[in-house]
Symmetry: C2
Subunit: 766 residues, 2 copies
């Protein structure tokens, strides 16, 4: 853990240049707009350690799988969101000396991420070996308005008259650090540099995704735009225009890049270049400042329904906004084929693919902080991939329309190649069903069931019905060979969470079928025909499984048993683990971890979190008190669930302790891996710790429930949500809670069991 | 399965050239001498499919591990016996046309492996595009006398006068098909071609193993040796000498290569080339024929104590001799740093490393068929690696001298990189301890305990004592997170076989400690000091574990339970598996295999096989009858144990059925993978099916036990063994058994419970 960035309510600030921290800063200062994004690579040449990263949503590479011993059913590839054309680079020479912060003397350096406005700003003062001092200022943003547009304004002032050469370039000859076999992923199509414009078109190998990047370059000396005649250069996957200027001391030279990055994910290959040229023409007609202003306005709008204010802890304030900011720039619901990669647009690791994190952690954030249409896109994403999920299940021997959603995917196909995850961590199917339920709880949009939701539930229910087997000795259904959310166990039998959610899925699918039969009979008949569904027969089977399913329970402790054999372990709590042996995933061999009692992330407790109303508070307490002492929280997704449950059972100190574990995960580089990119999906967990944990917010059957309390360490906090189209602010401090309904309709609030109607425009103190 | 090779009692014969079978034939016709070996690559150029393979024992490459998701404790490399310098090649042009069986018209082709004499012979007749017919004859062998020596005699007769160019070459610029990252493993040191000799020295990358290959080339026309002046060529890792001859029709031209392959595994790098030159000088002084004769004599000597004769089934006869032949050419006990790779010197796959197959299957073959000094080398191999086994255990968190032998190794370090195997398939430790027991049972050499044997047992016992844990709920020891011999289960708890052999190891270690204390008190005291052993304390702990160990038993079936949860599976026998779904390891996904009841190879039954005297015959029957129906035998190591047990319980038809499954595994390409090399270690299993299975041979406490019966399909069979320095022939047919003691001492035989002394030189009919 390093406290490196400066605390500020709305900004992340770096003061001074520290080459050892550069890759971490590149991750933290990443910017994006939900469709594309970029690490904070310095615009000018930098020969020190840097992880170049520019990412375009949907454009991926099926990198050949790397395994030691092939097992039947392994996926052939691991899909990666790949480093793509670098549009923001400038190569600058001052009296022939290349500007490079790795060789220059950096006198002053200030960098900030302005989260309120969604921009990256940098100001620095350096001296070159030739004695010339430079002031550099740059501003960069990805537009929230036009999702193919990004722009850079870069200013330079020299301490003396000199000759400056600026090479404005677009480079698609990029590498991917995470490549399995050191391949380059892009091939040349065309590059050109004409007048003040550059266009570079490339395509990915294997899948032929085309990407055209167009940049319009403008150059100013003081306030005057220069009309220069650059030297044009092109080579494979690269184009540039180089300008030679006679700079005057203390007169600012400003370069502006308007960039369009358009891909065949959204446009036909044939018209991609034409589209890029037209779009660049259009965007180039307005100034950098006007585009920035529009985008900043859109950011401010987002904050109105998603902000969390913390009073009395500026680091906590900065952290929660950083998390919200990253979530909002990773996903905006623009396209139902996009999702939330574990590193968003901030790095390559783990592929840019979709994990169950989306449904389990991220969806609840978008459900309360944005328009339901955004969350719905995440459901549609899975609906569009239902066919692939059915294929995936078929590859594993399931039939009759059973669907197994992949653990990691880009296009619906499984990418992950560890059998214990790919084939066995099947609880993900449950989270995908639960997401539909959760969405309907928030929105009441039961019609979605007729638009694809039910078909997804049906495929999932069918999977579970085939995945269990009848144990004739004990006369019960069991589910063997699974891995629960606690990935520190593999290939276990009767994981309580998995079996429980499986039963729930089948029950919910049956309920939804009944709802559709009554409310959308024609649609239901059509679905039944297409899916060869005999609902009576299948629902009977589901009910039978539900009745006879083995859900391990321990009478002595009064808790659900994580899986068969758990109670036979050495039950030694984490508190007895020497600090020198932690984290165990770095200090212990894998087998030792597996046979230990230690839990990576909420497993039984994940079930209590999802299905809290099915269990009384004593059950919550017993299970929490039993499992929490064995939980090492070595997944960034773990502490949030524990925090929320701790808050629920009144263990407020524990709740706060758990909240702290992820709040500043990336800002303070807790896991020593921020340089690889940010932990985007766990940021949602950190948000939920506050809103669902401290705030006790739930939305059930379209009612807002609150059970707030304020951590002692804070004076108070507020959070803004969008509830049934009304922006609502909930303010909590040690003397009470107030709810401000900014919307135009009355809202229904359950405050600690008490029901209150808050009229449009009203503030109610509770 | 393909019946391709011709049956013959002492030969494997190929008639006609079939390019599609070439790689399979290259494997089957492999030759070697326990220190090195070679696939049957054609000497002249062949541009069709071929897997080039020349292997030198001990010279390996630590190929960088390939894994998808790294886990703590994974080995960094996978050691491979690597394709090395190709010494036997000739490039031949006839009137400028390159001789290549892929382009020529092959009129006649005959190839045979002469197992009695240990040589590879080929004769063929081809016509070239230029109309010239050639008769080619070649004989190749690896000397059993000088283990660095191999030789080739290659004759050529043309149908008309013509010009022949022969390039005699040595090529170290070879590739490895099984390379993880397509690397070449060899680097240049030096190459020269002078007069009639070539020397090529190369070294492996990373580990710098040096290999010097020297070839003396002689050329004859008719009976006259030619003294020619060749053209010498050298390039990186390659040297050749090219001879131009004016051939006369029907006059035989003969090329002879005497080759020395010497490596830094046996010689200092400094003197390696000098050694090679001297050795070549020495070997070159005698004729090809005289070397061949000496080697053939040595082969014939080997057959005297290892042959199995089968009367009435020539295919079975050929098969068992092929298996014995391969075992004898893979391992001769020359060097305690060598072992038995799964493919011997016949291919690259699975690395050339050591598996538990050595102790579990191969050792019993060498114990009965050769001098005890050969078997002892296999024990010394593990003793020499004890330090690494202790390091290996330490990496996994074990301490105080606990030793975990690796699953796969070259030098004692673990190479295998599947966690479920590497970290969990720890029963291998048991087999290594059992091998010491077994060796002493055969030889009575208890002194070996004082020479390293006990230290190995101690390290192993200490491992088990730490590997179990106390289950305080049920007040018993348990062992979690293991993989038994049945690799169709992973990460199971309380695998009966593993837990049983663990207890046995601890008990045996305590017994051996006691023996040493009494018989070698000084040595024992020294060992105790070096290993910080308090035998009383440790033996007490071992005894406590032994008493309180949980060994799962099923009261309903009266069988040992393979592991916790096994009886909760769907217990559907293999007979109900559709043929179209087999082998399940090709037809089913891995997760489905794991949660199924199907058993890859003997697991509980392996324990009954090792410890047969601990269990009554009814226990054998119940367990065999319960587990055999669930066993798919998808390991080539599986059927032999079942065959031996079936024979023991009188299920003779089953025993024969099981025997058939491996007898001709490679000859008939059952598993469709013979092209990758031969299944050397399973050949031992096939041998044991006859000798231990049908013959009922056991050697216990240095007594020979026999309980023979003859499969109905055979008239009879004989097997020759070496028992207490006496060659003994046991002949079995449907009317009885006779035992012929060819040795100079009387032997003690237990025939079906009856004890008989057979005097030196006597034959006794039983």
């Amino acid at each position: 853990m390093i406290k490196y960035f400066k605390a500020d309510p709305w900004k992340v600030i770096e003061e001074g240049f520290n080459p050892a921290m550069n890759e971490i800063a590149e991750s933290v200062f990443s910017i994006g707009n939900g469709m594309m994004g970029q690490r904070a690579n310095l615009e000018e040449t930098y020969t020190g350690h840097s992880l170049k990263g520019t990412y375009v949503g949907g454009v991926y590479y099926p990198d050949k799988t790397r395994v030691g011993w092939w097992k039947n059913g392994y996926p052939e590839y691991f899909a990666k969101v790949i480093n793509s054309t670098y549009w923001s680079g400038l190569k600058i020479w001052v009296n022939s000396e290349l500007v490079d912060l790795n060789t220059a003397n950096v006198i002053q350096f200030h960098r900030e991420l302005d989260m309120y406005n969604g921009l990256l700003y940098r100001k620095c003062n350096i001296s070159l070996k030739n004695g010339i001092h430079l002031n550099i200022e740059s501003t960069r943003f990805y537009s929230l308005i036009n999702k193919e547009f990004s722009a850079l304004k870069y200013s330079l002032t020299t301490s003396q008259d000199c000759e400056i050469a600026i090479e404005n370039y677009v480079d698609a000859d990029v590498v991917n650090k995470d490549s399995n076999y050191d391949e380059k992923f892009w091939s040349e199509i065309r590059q050109e540099s004409i007048e003040n414009k550059i266009f570079v078109t490339v395509k990915t190998n294997k899948l032929d995704w085309h990407l055209c990047t167009g940049v319009k370059f403008s150059l100013f000396m003081g306030d005057n735009e220069l009309v220069a005649n650059p030297k044009h250069t092109t080579r494979e996957k690269f184009a540039s225009s180089t300008y030679i200027l006679q700079a005057k001391a203390n007169v600012c030279i400003t370069a502006v890049k308007h960039a369009i990055s358009a891909s065949s994910f959204h446009h036909p290959v044939d018209s991609l270049e034409l589209h890029t040229k037209k779009a660049l023409e259009k965007m180039g007609a307005s100034s950098f400042e006007s585009h920035l202003q529009m985008s900043a306005n859109a950011w401010q709008e987002k904050w109105k329904s998603s902000d969390v204010e913390i009073d009395g802890d500026v680091e906590a304030q900065q952290a929660v906004r950083f998390n919200i900011y990253q979530l909002n720039q990773t996903y905006c619901g623009d396209d139902p084929r996009l999702n939330i990669g574990p590193k968003g647009y901030t790095g390559e690791k783990y592929g840019g693919s979709t994990y169950w994190d989306t449904e389990a952690y991220c969806l609840p954030f978008y459900l309360v902080s944005s328009d339901p249409s955004i969350s719905k896109q995440l459901l549609v994403y899975r609906y569009k991939q239902l066919g692939k999920a059915i294929e995936n299940a078929a590859k594993l021997g399931f039939k009759d329309g059973a669907a197994l959603y992949p653990m990691v995917t880009m296009n619906g196909e499984e990418c992950h190649n560890e059998w214990e995850i790919t084939f066995e961590e099947i609880h993900r199917n449950g989270a995908i069903a639960y997401a539909i339920f959760n969405y309907i709880e928030h929105t009441g949009d039961k019609q979605y069931l007729s638009e694809g939701g039910f078909e997804v539930l049906l495929g999932i229910a069918r999977f579970w019905a085939q995945r269990v087997h009848w144990n004739s000795r004990q006369s019960r259904y069991e589910m063997h060979g699974v891995t629960g959310p606690n990935e520190y166990e593999n290939n276990v039998n009767n994981n309580w969470y998995t079996s429980y959610i499986a039963c729930w899925c089948m029950t919910y699918a049956a309920e939804c079928a009944e709802y559709l039969q009554i409310n959308f009979p024609t649609k239901f008949a059509e679905i039944a025909k297409n899916t060869h569904l005999n609902i009576q027969l299948e629902a009977e089977k589901w009910a039978h499984i539900n009745e006879q399913m083995y859900l391990p329970y321990d009478e002595i402790e009064g808790v659900f048993v994580q899986h068969d054999g758990f109670m036979q372990k050495e039950l030694i709590p984490c508190s007895e683990l020497p600090e020198s042996e932690r984290p165990i995933n770095q200090k212990w061999s894998w087998d030792r971890i597996l046979r230990s009692v230690y839990i990576k992330q909420a497993d039984v407790l994940q079930g209590l979190y999802f299905f809290e109303d099915k269990f009384d508070i004593d059950t919550h307490k017993r299970n929490f008190n039993f499992y929490e002492p064995f939980t090492v929280h070595e997944s960034s997704l773990s502490p949030c669930v524990h925090s929320i449950l701790a808050a629920k059972i009144g263990a407020t100190e524990k709740a706060y302790e758990m909240y702290l574990r992820t709040a500043r995960l990336d800002l303070d580089n807790y896991n020593n891996d921020t340089e690889d990119g940010l932990h985007i999906t766990s940021m949602a967990g950190s948000y939920l710790s506050i809103v669902q944990g401290f705030g006790g917010l739930r939305i059930k059957n379209q009612s807002l429930h609150l059970d707030p309390h304020c951590p002692e360490q804070w004076y108070g906090y507020k959070f803004r949500i969008l509830f049934k189209n009304s922006p609502v602010t909930i303010s909590v401090n040690h003397s009470g809670t107030s709810v401000n309904n900014h919307g135009e309709s009355d809202i229904d609030v359950h405050y600690k069991q008490q029901r209150i109607i808050i009229k449009a425009g009203d503030i109610v103190n509770l």
